[in-house]
């Protein structure tokens, strides 16, 4: 199954900046490119429960990195730590560090709000706001205090085009976002994430509630977006990970088991656990 799906996507050749991904122990290398997301000996706790164990992971710029693993392995937690969405939960704690570029997201000088503006996020369940399509897209700009009509109009058109929704909704921008179909709503959420012109887009199982056709559209979209954004995607769908991502990280019970080029993970994994999981024998 992996082979078939993989052949349709030839290997992504290079990231724009030289990224040294040669060995399997990416986490131990210290060759940053500025927009790297890097976890360094990162552990994370909900109260007394440890959910991430000593993670070392570097996510390269302008590529798609898939996080896979069985439910409860900590991949969503990892993703939500990148824009500090977990801050909302009481009793959280971390050890180690999480860097974006050269700055720690926990740096006291970092404002969470500006951090989140640099990082768009798409959720498992599409969550458009009870507003018009137009207002949904420019929500981030509105809260940032942008008022100029031309700026907002441009942002709407650009974002909706980038999320391949423009042709479907350009005539009804001021209708409620709830008039859209499920797949369109999810693409609207992607447009909303793009409108802020972020550097990174986090996707938390973006297609889990969608039918195959809508899923296909989103996957195509991810391919497009890769040229401009660094994308981290959590998915339960092996084929999807194989289809859309350049690299794949496999998590199990809060530990990073293996991280490599997607083809390697799927065709020639090092760890037997990885092989068992990607071939569908457990998980």
């Amino acid at each position: 199954m992996n082979e078939a799906s993989h052949q349709s996507f030839p290997e992504q050749p290079v990231a724009r900046r030289p990224v040294s991904v040669e060995s399997r122990n990416l986490g131990e290398r210290a060759n940053y490119a500025p927009d790297y997301i890097a976890f360094r000996n990162y552990s994370f706790y909900y109260g007394a429960t440890q959910v991430l164990f000593d993670i070392n992971l570097e996510i390269p710029e302008r590529q798609v990195t898939a996080l896979i693993g069985p439910s409860g392995c900590g991949k969503s937690t990892l993703l939500r730590n990148i824009n500090r969405m977990n801050d909302l939960i009481d009793g959280i704690r971390h050890e180690g560090d999480l860097l974006i570029g050269r700055t720690s997201v926990y740096d006291p000088g970092i404002e969470v709000i500006s951090l989140r503006k640099r990082i768009g996020m798409v959720f498992q369940k599409s969550n458009p706001f009870p507003k018009s399509i137009y207002e949904n897209v420019i929500y981030g700009l509105r809260v940032a205090g942008r008022r100029r009509k031309s700026v907002l109009d441009d942002a709407v058109e650009r974002s909706l085009k980038a999320s391949a929704l423009w042709d479907e909704v350009k005539d009804r921008l001021h209708e409620s976002a709830f008039s859209l179909s499920g797949g369109q709503m999810q693409r609207l959420c992607i447009a909303r994430a793009i409108a802020n012109q972020p550097e990174i887009i986090l996707m938390d199982e973006p297609c889990s509630a969608l039918d195959p056709i809508a899923t296909g559209k989103i996957e195509d979209l991810i391919h497009e977006l890769k040229n401009d954004y660094t994308i981290v995607i959590v998915t339960h769908n092996m084929q999807q990970a194989a289809r859309v991502s350049d690299r794949t990280a496999f998590f199990y019970l809060g530990k990073l088991v293996e991280y490599d080029h997607t083809d390697t993970i799927f065709m020639n994994p090092m760890e037997p656990q990885t092989e068992a999981y990607v071939s569908g024998r457990f998980g």
């Binding site: 824009n83 969405m85 768009g120 969550n127 706001f129 929500y139 909303r192 802020n196």
Partner: protein, 580 residues
């Protein structure tokens, strides 16, 4: 095996159905009680305005029902009923041995009786009277009988006989019925216009002069108490005195005008005859409106009904609130409820937002929440006492000492006494728990996904609340407001301490600057019901008024709620689908 299951399905008692019956029974019971109550209020409230025919009855000579030696009465049938009374009888002992002794015993005696509304309270001393059916020998419905709304002493029921005009001429009914009746119509109509004019002068012009004079008096009294006055103050005193004299002259001029009108209304007199043949006369100015109940056709009845209903809701009360309209009470209730809603909503919403969105959920917040919920169980009179102490004495007293020190020194409180503002705020406090609880529920119902989506876009927590959470919970907040309004508009007990009065001389909103007088005392429908029903000299006659007032109060609350519900539905439509 499959047969077993299907057999059971067919023959077994369906378990759920019992509960369907049980629950629907509960609903039916509750609903029918509410409907009966509402139906009673509706029917009895509306019948207050419906003109009923007048029956004239003739009593048997020497019958028990007769009183004051009269045997003929005219009135509207208020009730017909069977009554059983135990009467004492003496009969000879059945036992022959003791035949000389009599036995006293009470035996039940059942008879039919009618209750008539006689009117003419000034004459009979009461408005209602029971008559035994068996005593009644004749019943007629005289065409010429009049039911008259009078300035005082309730309605009169009589035959009009003669009119004494201003110049002393007498128009007799016996001579020319048509001329007499048209003359009566004309004179009553003219008297009504004169009365309106008198009211205008008294209420508006003289009222305004009185207000200004009392302000001047307060200031003068202040200067009088000072030992020494500066020249500036001297001239101010002079100025005030001149102004007072000027007002006094104007007042006298107006009074002469109004007196002239009053004299005219007084000098034209109607001589009438009651059913028993007694004669009397009244000033035409005291006759507010009249109709011939036994002549009215259906359209005439409907017309009279409409007129009376309109006068009830638009008129001012008279004769110790027993008669006239209840407009000041409607207006007071409306304004007070409005003030309450305006005060309670922001407070409740702010408190709920803090409790739900910002406060760290823990034992402290939990106990605060329990305390808030229990606040709803505190007797409302306690809130009244608190309102009196906190709002009236403390806040009102402070406002007075800062802004109206002279009036306060003169012993004339402005805000330091009950008023519509304090009443509104007291009720706002009373209803705070309702709004807080409803708002909290609404906030909790806003999905986590929407909040996270907003935060992930770089919105701050406040921006999320302001732009998404509050708009989405607006329908729930409005539900809380609806509940608060319904409860607040019907509340009476606390109001009695913080500003409601049985008869307020002025509305809280009028034409004198600054137009809205929130410090004024006001009338309230709930208190009006209490006052008319339980404080009036003739409580029997007050019953229909009580029902009519209750009906108006309910209609007012329904209007309030309907408008809030319409707004809520409009908002819901705008946020359609936000609940998926």
């Amino acid at each position: 095996m499959s047969r077993d299951i299907s057999d059971k399905t067919r023959t077994g008692v369906p378990k759920g159905e019992v509960w369907v019956w049980f629950t629907s029974l509960g609903l039916t019971l509750g609903l029918s009680m509410v409907l009966v109550l509402f139906g009673l209020i509706l029917v009895r409230g509306l019948s207050y305005f419906w003109p009923v025919p007048i029956v004239q009855i003739e009593l048997q000579e020497g019958s028990e029902s007769a009183f004051l030696g009269m045997h003929r009465f005219a009135g509207a049938v208020a009730k017909t009923q069977q009554r059983t009374e135990r009467v004492l009888v003496e009969s000879p002992e059945a036992d022959a041995a003791e035949a000389d002794r009599t036995v006293r015993e009470t035996i039940p005696d059942t008879f039919a009786e009618i209750q008539l509304f006689l009117g003419n309270r000034d004459y009979y001393g009461q408005s209602f009277r029971y008559f035994r059916d068996e005593d009644v020998v004749g019943r007629t419905r005289p065409e010429a009988i009049i039911r008259a709304e009078r300035r005082a002493e309730g309605d009169g029921i009589f035959y009009a006989r003669e009119l004494v005009l201003e110049d002393g001429r007498v128009v007799k009914r016996a001579e020319d019925v048509d001329r007499f009746e048209s003359e009566l119509d004309r004179l009553v109509g003219e008297a009504r216009h004169r009365r309106a004019e008198i009211n205008r002068i008294d209420r508006r012009h003289i009222g305004r002069i009185n207000l200004e004079m009392s302000d001047i008096e307060v200031e003068l009294r202040y200067f009088r108490r000072q030992d020494r006055l500066t020249s500036e103050e001297e001239s101010r005193v002079q100025e005030l005195r001149e102004r007072r004299d000027e007002l006094q002259r104007r007042y006298e001029r107006l009074e002469t005008q109004s007196d002239a009108l009053k004299r005219t209304n007084e000098s034209i007199r109607l001589r009438y005859e009651r059913a028993d043949g007694s004669r009397d006369e009244m000033a035409i100015g005291d006759l507010y409106r009249f109709h011939y109940p036994n002549r009215l056709g259906v359209s005439g009845r409907i017309q009279t009904f409409m007129i009376r209903a309109w006068e009830f809701v638009s008129g001012y009360p008279r004769d110790a609130n027993m008669d006239g309209g209840i407009f000041p009470a409607i207006f007071g209730t409306f304004l007070m409820t409005l003030i309450m809603s305006i005060a309670v909503t922001p407070f409740g919403v702010i408190a709920a937002v803090y409790l739900r969105e910002y406060a760290k959920q823990g034992p402290v917040v939990r106990s605060v929440r329990i305390a808030v919920n229990n606040l709803a169980g505190v007797p409302s009179i306690v809130f009244g006492v608190f309102g009196l102490g906190f709002f009236v004495y403390l806040m009102g007293g402070t406002i007075d000492s800062i802004f109206y020190p002279r009036a306060q020194e003169a012993g004339v409180p402005t805000f330091g006494t009950g008023g519509i503002l304090w009443a509104g705020l007291t009720l706002a406090l009373l209803n705070l728990p309702v709004v807080i609880v409803a708002t909290e529920e609404a906030l909790a119902a806003v999905s986590r996904g929407v909040r996270e989506g907003s935060l992930a876009c770089g919105a701050s927590k406040w921006q999320t609340i302001q732009r998404l959470v509050l708009p989405a919970s607006l329908p729930g907040i409005l539900t809380g407001m609806i509940l608060a309004m319904a409860r607040g508009a019907g509340e009476v007990a606390p109001l009695m301490l913080v500003g409601v009065v049985a008869l307020a001389p002025n509305l809280p909103v009028d034409g004198t600057f600054p137009f809205i007088h929130l410090e004024r005392k006001f009338m309230h429908l709930g208190f009006h019901i209490y006052d008319v029903g339980f404080q009036s000299p003739d409580s029997e006659a007050a019953i229909p008024t009580v029902f009519a007032t209750t009906l108006v109060l309910i209609i007012l609350i329904v209007i309030f709620n309907l408008s809030a519900i319409l707004i809520r539905n409009h908002i819901r439509r705008k946020h359609q689908g936000s609940a998926f």
